[in-house]
């Protein structure tokens, strides 16, 4: 039997291995994309483009961080896109229609995510449903729920200049006439915190272990159901955070919307090296992958490709990312 170690001088270099080949490739691709768009479009070189990329990045990053935990257990959470809209609708409804304090709306938004995440986690871990199906069902439920609570009408969160519009400055602060993407700081802080949680705490370790070999983890005396549920709870809470980020960037939500956004977030995680088969993935990779998605979403319209072309290009990017995942798994086998 030959040794399984393979690869070349580059992939076996300790520094490269510590960072991960895929992340290095993603960074190179990201830089290449930014250079390409800058060269092709003068508009892309504007400061406002950075703000626009950031608007996409915030909510995708939160969704991506959350769903990365589900993906690492070998599952998935499809309810995050419509969930994000649903929770933002409910929170916004309380603030604008019921005139509750803004803080109540924020707490309820995150709480909705927490509850739906727990429901997803229990259906998967205790109910034994396939994660794909379980979260597809809850996706339908939240799609309907948001519309029912708002009575079918769109909700617009308070604008930046409105007296209760301070939530927007949490992500985009106006300092001396310049808009500063403050949200980037929050994304980074949470990314670092969740990265430590994933790699340095017991729940994180067990989430990886479950995705790697669920039965072996169970035989090691780990309560698999609990940690599997935790992964979905994290996904739910981060969907709540994403709802805040989304309402801060785009202000209004239509009931029943948000479908398809989950695929951009999952796509970001996969581009960043998280495996669809579970067991491996990093938060840093997900953040990088999400940047690829948000740069594409901002850059493509600026070089004159409209929405339909964007979908095709993002689809193609995902096929390549998943193919890399397939190749990696072949090597492991």
């Amino acid at each position: 039997m030959t040794d399984k170690k393979q690869g070349n001088a580059f992939t076996n270099n300790p520094v490269v291995r510590a960072i991960g080949v895929q992340k290095i490739v993603v960074v190179i691709v990201l830089i290449a994309m930014i250079l390409f768009f800058s060269a092709m479009s003068p508009a892309f070189r504007q400061y406002s483009t950075i703000l626009s990329i950031m608007d996409y990045t915030y909510y995708l990053a939160f969704l991506g961080i959350g769903v990365t935990f589900c993906l690492i257990t070998g599952g998935v959470d499809l309810s995050i896109g419509t969930g994000m809209f649903c929770y933002a609708l409910i929170g916004g409804y309380l603030i604008t229609q019921k005139h509750t304090p803004v803080i109540v709306g924020i707490i309820v938004t995150i709480l909705c995510g927490l509850i739906m995440g727990t429901v997803n986690g229990l259906i998967v871990s205790k109910g034994g449903h396939a994660p794909f199906l379980a979260t597809l069902c809850t996706m339908m439920i939240v799609r309907g729920l948001g519309a029912i609570i708002t009575g079918g009408s769109s909700i617009t969160w308070p604008g930046a200049t409105a007296p209760n519009g301070w939530t927007r400055t949490l992500f985009k602060m106006d300092i001396g006439g310049t808009k500063v993407p403050l949200g980037f700081l929050w994304v980074m802080i949470l990314a670092v915190a969740m990265s430590i949680f994933l790699n340095k705490t017991r729940p994180g370790r067990y989430i990886i272990a479950i995705g790697s070999n669920k039965e072996a983890t169970r035989l090691s005396g780990v309560n698999v159901a609990v940690y599997q549920t935790i992964a979905y709870v994290i996904s739910g809470v981060f969907t709540g955070l994403a709802a805040l980020a989304y309402s801060s960037a785009f202000q209004s939500m239509i009931p029943g919307g948000g479908g398809g956004i989950e695929l951009n977030a999952i796509g970001g995680a996969i581009i960043g090296g998280t495996s669809m088969n579970g067991g491996s993935g990093t938060i840093a990779g997900t953040i990088l992958g999400v940047f690829i998605m948000s740069v594409l979403q901002t850059g493509l319209p600026l070089i004159g490709l409209q929405a339909n072309y964007q979908q095709i290009i993002i689809g193609l990017v995902l096929i390549i990312a998943v193919y890399i995942d397939v190749l990696k798994n072949k090597k492991l086998a």
């Binding site: 039997m1 017991r202 272990a209 790697s212 072996a216 983890t217 780990v222």
Partner: protein, 497 residues
């Protein structure tokens, strides 16, 4: 050898329809390596599962360190100091070696895991065992041998007093086995009790102090290894009982044409330079122990797994088989050992299953000719005597034997002349068994040819005209039925390089 640490006495265990363990005894002393031997299905693994609390026993006592014990799960047994190093490794491929060893009982530094300390502790364990493994390496990057060493390190870190090795050498190279033996001897010198399950006669002589032999769920006896010969042990394993009438003479005429010739087939570790011929009207038995590479040979031949080399001739003509479609095109049908997974679609009807492999012959334009499908299925239900109210019955509702008949029908509808039966009677009750045997005899009488892979010695001796014996991916013997005996087959099946 020191004092007795573990005694299992009169252990009895039944599953519905199977008497798995019939009053089995086992005694392990401190500082001994105790071999547990027996054919496939003799009950060795069941006995160990009873010991470690995976199964509960119906009768008998287990005494450990002077006290009667009964563990209700592997974790309790582990905490008491009895651990199994499984044949199939329970590893977490994505985590590091140290993370694997300490899974479920991580060393903590407040709320955070102390990976540094875990790496140090793992390094200490490896040093103690004299193994060179980097605790920070990712598990899946290690060789199977090294992974096994990690399992052993994990076992020892539980402060084990009794370690059970379940066929540890099955996937190891010579050098790795040497390393394994060195470790086992060290553990023995530290007064641990070691149970060593293996089929390999040569290893038993090298590493063990005593041998307990089991047969058909029963206890046969215990020998001191150095005072007994290989033949003594084999005789105990196969017994002297004559089962049902074995075939004494080949039914194939001397001049029967060769319908299938395989030359120098190679596919991975489990199929190494295998050559054989199959003649018209012949049942060619493939015998060997678990993991001998018989199924792998069949799958490579059938195109289900990729092969690295080898020539295949059907009716004297050299053919290329790259996919199962190619094999089917040349009239080769494969009846998998795992019926439910590869053989049938359980929630479809008998008719649908029967035409599955030859649907293109049942088309009327773009549509399936349901009427003819039913007619043909009905015809085979009658010839094969499948017990069912009708061909529209779902296969899931049939018994094992009748399900097997549906699989046979599928390949007969396809008009396959060469049929590979992989464990044709696994999970089938005795009555249905003889029906399947009769059916196989009728098929060869009609001029079909059969390759029969079987782990049951009686089945091999009863059905085969000729027997190919395999061991570790190589063909280690070929016997005409007139010269075949259980002892000879077992000898070839344990023949190592």
């Amino acid at each position: 050898m020191g004092d007795v640490i573990l005694t299992m006495k009169g252990i009895d265990k039944s599953f519905p329809g199977v008497h798995a363990l019939d009053h089995v005894d086992l005694e392990v002393k401190k500082g001994e390596v105790h071999a547990l031997m027996g054919e496939n299905g003799a009950g060795k693994s069941t006995l160990m599962k009873v010991l470690t609390g995976i199964y509960s026993k119906d009768e008998g006592t287990i005494t450990y360190e002077g006290k009667e014990v009964e563990f209700s799960n592997p974790r309790e047994a582990q905490d008491a100091g009895i651990v199994i190093v499984h044949q199939e490794l329970n590893m977490l491929g994505h985590l590091t070696v140290a993370q694997n060893i300490f899974i479920g009982r991580e060393i903590m530094n407040g709320k955070l895991i102390n990976d540094k300390k875990m790496n140090e502790e793992a390094a200490k364990l490896f040093e103690q065992l004299g193994i060179d493994i980097d605790p920070k390496e990712t598990m899946s990057r290690l060789t199977v041998g090294k992974q096994q060493m990690c399992e052993i390190a994990k076992a020892i870190s539980h402060e084990a007093k009794v370690i059970i090795f379940d066929e540890p050498s099955a996937a190891l190279t010579e050098a790795e086995i040497e390393e394994l033996f060195k470790i086992i001897r060290d553990l023995r010198d530290k007064q641990m009790g070691i149970v060593y399950i293996s089929h390999r006669m040569d290893e038993i002589k090298v590493i063990t102090d005593r041998v307990t032999v089991m047969r058909d769920g029963g206890y046969v006896g215990t020998l001191i290894t150095k005072d007994s010969t290989k033949d003594d042990i084999i005789n105990m394993m196969v017994g002297r009982v004559i089962y049902e009438d074995p075939k004494t003479e080949s039914a194939v005429p001397k001049d029967a044409p060769v319908v299938l010739k395989v030359e120098h087939l190679n596919a991975g570790r489990m199929v190494r330079d295998v050559s054989f011929e199959l003649r018209k009207g012949e049942i060619l038995g493939f015998s060997g122990l678990m993991g001998a590479g018989r199924t792998e040979t069949a799958r490579a031949l059938f195109g289900a797994d990729p092969k690295e080399g080898g020539d295949i001739y059907v009716n004297g003509e050299k053919i290329e088989i790259k996919t199962p479609q190619d094999a089917v095109k040349h009239g080769i049908g494969y009846l998998s050992e795992d019926r439910k997974r590869y053989g049938i679609v359980v929630d479809k009807t008998i008719a649908e299953n029967s035409t599955m492999a030859s649907l293109e012959h049942f088309m009327k334009g773009a549509f399936i000719d349901k009427k003819r499908e039913n007619e043909v299925a009905q015809q085979y239900v009658e010839t094969l005597k499948t017990k069912t109210p009708g061909v529209d019955q779902l296969v899931v509702n049939l018994s094992g034997g009748n399900q097997q008949k549906v699989v046979i029908a599928k390949w007969l509808v396809r008009n396959c002349d060469i049929l590979i039966f992989d464990e044709p009677t696994r999970g089938i009750d005795v009555g249905a068994k003889s029906e399947i045997y009769q059916l196989m005899n009728e098929l060869v009488a009609e001029g079909k040819s059969i390759i029969m892979i079987s782990s049951e010695m009686t089945e091999i001796l009863r059905m085969s005209d000729r027997i190919v014996v395999m061991c570790e991916g190589r063909k280690t013997g070929e016997l005409d039925i007139s010269e075949a005996t259980q002892e000879r087959i077992m000898h070839a099946a344990t023949l190592r390089d």
